[in-house]
């Protein structure tokens, strides 16, 4: 292994890390807001990738163009999931911990089932796109353009999120709800609305990541499960094992 290949893999690792970061931020936003882990987060990613794929397949829309649409659609989806499932799960009196975990976990399984049923287990891919397959060389290091753009989009999203939370009324309401959801009604805030918007926002971030990842990952019903575990397991992932052990999602 030369120094160059090490730098090379570090650089691509960093780019992927930023994209996984975008997924993780969505998860952390929801968790921080209401102490609920969205076990269907990976499946949110999966439907975002399928949405991007179908927009490409039927309307020849480039993933870069569909990214905002997908993010918006996921926003709605996330809010609906909160209103239809999670809102009731957090009210549980018996077995509260188990209910929280199994409600979103069950949702994940349903979504995977639907994907297998309607989209078939076949591997799909966005076969051509503006960015797909391109690389740039920066100081002798070759970087894949889709991952590079993905990293830039992630950074932009982090900055936007930072300002959104710290500089807007809704951001302040989000912070207040996270501090004490039972107290926001005292100032006239509907906590269910904040939670729904928080879920929407978390899902939109995953939607953005999914649209970009659709450029260079295969898309199949279990893809979310894999990436979900991967973003959680990033720290366990050893460089030596990266090529053979983690062979499942083949980049193309």
């Amino acid at each position: 292994m030369t120094a160059e290949t090490i730098i090379q893999s570090l650089a691509s690792g960093l780019l992927m890390g930023l994209l996984y970061g975008l997924i993780a931020v969505g998860l952390a936003l929801i968790f921080g807001l209401m102490d609920v882990v969205n076990f269907a987060h990976g499946e949110f990613l999966m439907i975002a990738m399928y949405a991007t794929f179908f927009l490409f397949a039927f309307f020849a829309l480039d993933p870069l163009l569909s990214a905002p649409l997908v993010a918006a659609a996921l926003f709605l989806f996330g809010a609906v999931v909160y209103l239809l499932v999670v809102r009731f799960a957090v009210r549980a009196k018996a077995n509260a911990g188990m209910v929280q975990i199994f409600s979103t976990f069950g949702l994940a399984i349903v979504m995977r089932g639907f994907a297998q049923f309607f989209f078939t287990p076949d591997y799909r891919s966005v076969t051509h796109s503006w960015l797909g397959g391109k690389t740039v060389s920066i100081a002798g290091i070759f970087l894949p353009v889709p991952q590079l753009v993905g990293a830039l989009v992630s950074i932009a999203a982090f900055v936007a999120l930072y300002f959104f939370i710290n500089r807007t009324d809704f951001g302040r309401a989000l912070e207040a709800t996270r501090e004490d959801a039972g107290a926001v009604a005292l100032v006239g805030i509907d906590k269910n609305r904040v939670f729904a918007l928080g879920w929407g926002l978390g899902a939109a971030l995953v939607g953005l990541a999914g649209a970009i990842m659709a450029i260079f990952f295969y898309i199949y019903p279990d893809v979310g499960a894999w990436h979900w575990a991967a973003s959680a397991a990033c720290s366990v992932r050893l460089p030596a094992a990266s090529s053979s052990v983690w062979s499942k999602p083949p980049p193309h």
């Binding site: 009324d169 302040r172 309401a173 912070e175 207040a176 004490d180 009604a185 006239g188």
Partner: protein, 234 residues
């Protein structure tokens, strides 16, 4: 302005207040007194919408509010400062106050109550950037009242504002309550320190084990021999 009729509230089947009726007229300071566990807090929680009454009706400016969501009741003009204050501890004083005016969109609407807040509690204006949790108990109570004022309420409800506070600050808070009324608001205040409370109140209710034991003008209550013996220790 506020009128409760035969309000009964229960926790898991245990009745905490039973058939309580009360009236609060515009511009009044009304004190609700009673021993620990009498149901004072439950009464305020029920009016604020934090607990649902089992039966009875509550109307505010002629419209029924019982059973309404708590944030809607706040939006209708009832601000409630609960017993444990429920500030947002890790947010700054400024953010706590800004959140109070969340319902208003224009800066003018937001700044207007701020002037009153700073006039009542000048020490808050010196601590705007501090986290709420770093304030002293008395200052936290002031902030809680101020946050409630930022919602520009017509009726302000305070649950034992003097609890756990140095005597000097207690006087300051009672004085502020009077000035809040003078600024055009109506105040419903729950207190165990009945003597101080009757000083500023126009009328009072005494609750005992969930029922209204006595009601009347502050001076009537103050001079009632039973009250003097049982509650004022005279």
């Amino acid at each position: 302005m506020l009128s409760g009729r035969e309000v009964t509230t229960a926790y898991h089947g245990l009745v905490a207040i039973s058939a309580v009726s009360l009236e609060v007229a515009k511009g009044e300071i009304v004190c609700v007194a009673g021993a620990n566990g009498a149901g004072k807090s439950t009464l305020l929680k029920t009016i604020a919408g934090a607990e649902r009454p089992r039966s009875g009706t509550i109307t505010f400016d002629g419209a029924r509010i019982d059973g309404m969501a708590q944030h809607m009741i706040t939006a209708r003009g009832i601000a409630y400062v609960p017993e444990n204050r429920r500030l947002f501890p890790r947010l700054s004083v400024r953010d706590n106050l800004r959140l109070g005016s969340y319902l208003y969109r224009s800066e003018a609407d937001r700044d207007e109550p701020l002037a009153l807040v700073f006039k009542l509690f000048p020490r808050l204006s010196e601590r705007l950037e501090q986290r709420a949790e770093t304030l002293s108990g008395g200052e936290q109570q002031m902030l809680a009242i101020s946050r409630a004022l930022m919602t520009r309420p017509r009726l302000l409800m305070l649950d034992e504002p003097s609890q756990g506070i140095m005597p000097k600050l207690v006087d300051e808070i009672f004085a502020a309550v009077k000035r809040i009324r003078d600024a055009g608001m109506t105040v419903l205040i729950v207190e165990q320190r009945m003597a101080e409370c009757l000083e500023i109140a126009d009328r009072a209710y005494i609750l005992q084990t969930g029922r209204v034991l006595m009601q009347g003008s502050a001076s009537e209550i103050k001079t009632n021999p039973d009250v003097r013996k049982a509650y004022l220790g005279l």
